[in-house]
C-alpha cells in the first residue's frame, strides 16, 4: 500500500538512548504516506515526543535513519526540514514580539521570502488577525497555541507535526483544530499528531499507531480498528462445565472459557451470519443449560489499554 512514491516519512530502525541510559525509543520502524493523517497514540513518557523531536532535528538519533520526502534528515537536513512544520507540546513563544512579526520570523527562518499576504491568510484562518499587533505575552494560553500553529504553517510545510495539539485547549479551539486538519488534508499536507485522547485520534486520523515504552506495538488503518470496535462478544455462563464444544455448534466458532463453565461467541453485530438468537436456540437444542449471558463491546480505549498493559 505504501510504495516509495507515496511515502512521505520513512523511519527505519530508529532508536534513542539518552545520556544517562534512558532508552526512549527501541528500534522504531514506521512509514507514513503522503497526505495521510497519522495519529500516534500512547501514554505519557511512551516516546512520542522523542520520535517527533528526532524527525524535526531537535534530538539526535542513536541509531537508524529517517527520510522526509525522500530526503535524509541528517545528510540532507535542509531539504528535509523545509518540508516540516512543528507545533510543540509546550507553549514556548517569544514574549515581547508581536504576533505578526513572530510568525513572519518563522517564515524567514525556514528560508522563505517575506509574504505578508500569506501570513495574513494564516492568521485569519486561526482567528489571530485581530491580535496581529499584540505582544504574544498578552495573549491567553489558547491564543498562544494558535500562534504556535501559525508559526508552524508560516512556511507552507508539506508535513505538519502536532504534538499534543489539544492538551489543555478549550472546545472551540479543539473544533477549529479539527477543521484545520481536514483543510490541510485537502491540500495534501501530511499530518502527524500525537495524543493520548483516543477520541481525537478517532476524529481526525486515517491511521493510528500505538506507542508504548519506546516501541510501536500497533499500526492500523482507523477503518480496521473501527471494524474491531464493531466486534462484540457474547459470553454464556453454563450451569455445568463441558469438555468439548458439541459438533452441532461448530459453525459458531465458539471458544471455551472459565474451565468449560463458559462459552464465548465473537460476532460482528452488523454482519453476523449466525445471530445471537440462533445460537441460544441451538444451545438449548444441544442440551446445554445456561444461567447467564452477557455481551461486551471492545472500544479503542480497551484495545489500547490492553496493548499497553501487555507490554508492561
Amino acid at each position: 500500500m505504501f510504495t516509495a512514491m507515496t511515502t512521505m516519512i520513512s523511519i527505519s530502525n530508529l532508536s534513542k538512548t539518552y545520556e544517562g541510559g534512558f532508552q526512549a525509543l527501541k528500534t522504531v520502524n514506521l512509514d507514513i504516506s503522503r497526505g495521510e493523517i497519522f495519529a500516534l497514540l500512547g501514554p505519557n513518557g511512551a516516546g512520542k515526543t522523542t520520535l517527533i523531536s528526532i524527525v524535526c532535528g531537535l534530538v539526535n538519533a542513536s541509531t537508524g535513519t529517517v527520510t522526509v520526502g525522500g530526503k535524509n534528515i541528517v545528510t540532507d537536513y535542509r531539504a528535509a526540514r523545509e518540508l516540516i512544520g512543528l507545533v510543540p507540546q509546550e507553549l514556548t513563544t517569544e514574549a515581547f514580539e508581536t504576533v505578526f512579526s513572530a510568525v513572519s520570523f518563522s517564515r524567514g527562518l525556514f528560508g522563505k521570502p517575506a509574504n505578508p499576504a500569506y501570513i495574513e491568510k494564516v492568521l485569519r484562518s486561526l482567528s489571530l488577525w485581530d491580535k496581529r499587533n499584540n505582544k504574544i505575552m498578552t495573549l491567553s494560553g489558547g491564543m498562544k497555541r494558535r500562534v504556535l500553529i501559525a508559526k508552524a504553517l508560516s512556511h507552507e510545510p508539506r508535513v505538519l507535526f502536532l504534538d499534543e495539539p489539544t492538551a489543555g485547549v478549550d472546545v472551540e479551539l479543539r473544533r477549529d483544530m479539527w477543521a484545520l486538519v481536514s483543510e490541510l488534508r485537502e491540500q495534501g499536507v501530511t499530518v502527524i499528531l500525537t495524543t493520548h485522547y483516543i477520541e481525537e485520534a478517532e476524529e481526525m486520523a486515517d491511521r493510528i499507531g500505538v506507542i508504548t515504552r519506546g516501541e510501536i506495538i500497533l499500526v492500523e488503518d482507523k477503518a480496521t480498528l473501527m471494524h474491531k470496535l464493531g466486534r462484540k462478544q457474547l459470553t454464556v455462563q453454563l450451569q455445568e462445565a463441558i469438555d468439548s464444544i458439541p459438533e452441532t455448534l461448530a459453525d459458531y466458532g465458539l471458544e471455551r472459557a472459565a474451565g468449560g463453565h463458559a462459552l464465548v461467541f465473537t460476532y460482528d453485530a452488523e454482519r453476523a451470519q449466525h445471530g445471537v438468537a440462533e445460537l441460544l436456540r441451538d444451545l438449548a437444542a444441544a442440551g446445554l443449560a445456561f444461567k447467564d449471558v452477557n455481551t461486551t463491546q471492545s472500544s479503542l480505549e480497551d484495545i489500547f489499554v490492553d496493548l499497553v498493559k501487555e507490554e508492561r
Binding site: 539518552y18 545520556e19 524535526c56 532535528g57 531537535l58 534530538v59 539526535n60 537536513y77 535542509r78 531539504a79 528535509a80 526540514r81 523545509e82 516540516i84 512543528l86 510543540p88 509546550e90 514556548t92 513563544t93 517569544e94 514574549a95 515581547f96 514580539e97 512579526s101 513572519s104 520570523f105 518563522s106 517564515r107 524567514g108 527562518l109 525556514f110 528560508g111 522563505k112 521570502p113 508559526k151
Partner: protein, 253 residues
Amino acid sequence: MNLHAINAIYRFEMARARRTLTQSIISPVISTSLYFVVFGAAIGSRIPQVDGVSYGSFIVPGLIMLALLTQSIANASFGIYFPRFTGTIYEVLSAPVSYLEIVIAYVGAAATKSIVLGLIILATAALFVPLTIKHPLWMLMFLVLTAVTFSLLGFIIGIWADGFEKLQLVPMLIVTPLTFLGGSFYSISMLPPFWQTVTLFNPVVYLVSGFRWSFYGIADVSPALSLAMTLFFLIACIVTVAWIFRTGYRLKP
C-alpha cells in the same frame, strides 16, 4: 546559504536591542560618561600626561574596549541563552539553518550592537576630551575584530550557562577584572617590573594596547602582536563554537 534565515534572526536580535534601548545603549553611554567625569576631569586633571597624551584622552580607547568587551558578551550570551531558557530555540534548531548561519546571525547582531555602541561612546568622548585617530582603518579593524571575538565568547557562554547566574559569572568574575587590570586606565609601563610581567598574561592588555595604538601611535606591546593575539582569541572562539555544534553540546540531547 539560507539568507532569509540569517536575515530573520539578525532582525529579530536588532529589534530586541531597539526594544531595550535604555539598557543596550543609553546605560553604557551614561556609565562611560561617568568614567570621563571621574577619571578624566576630576582625577585626570591631577595626573600628568601619559606617553605625551593627556590622561583624559589616554583612557578613551580603554573605556571603549571595556564597553565593547562587556556589551559584546552580554548581548551575545543573552541572545542565545534566552531562547534556550524559554524553549523557543526549538524553532531555530528545527529550521533548515546551518550552524554557521546561526552563528553569523546571532554573533553578527551582537557584534553590530557593540560596534554601534563603541562608536557612540567614541562620539561621546569627543565631547569631553580632544581626540586624534592616527590609524582609522586599524582602529576600525580592532573594533570589529574585538566585537566579533567577544560576541563569539558571549555566544559560547550563552550556550554553556544553565542559569542566569552563570550568565553573569564570566563577565563579572573574569572579563571585568581582566579589563580593569589590562591597562584600560593606565599604561603598563606605570607598573612595577614584576607586575608588568604578570600583566602580559592578561589577554586584554593586547586588545587595549593595539586599540590605543590606532588612536595615538603609542602602545605597551607591538601592534602586530596585538593583532596576532586578537586573531588567536578569535580562532580559539571559532574552534570552540565549532566543537559545540559538532557535538550538539547543551543544544541537542
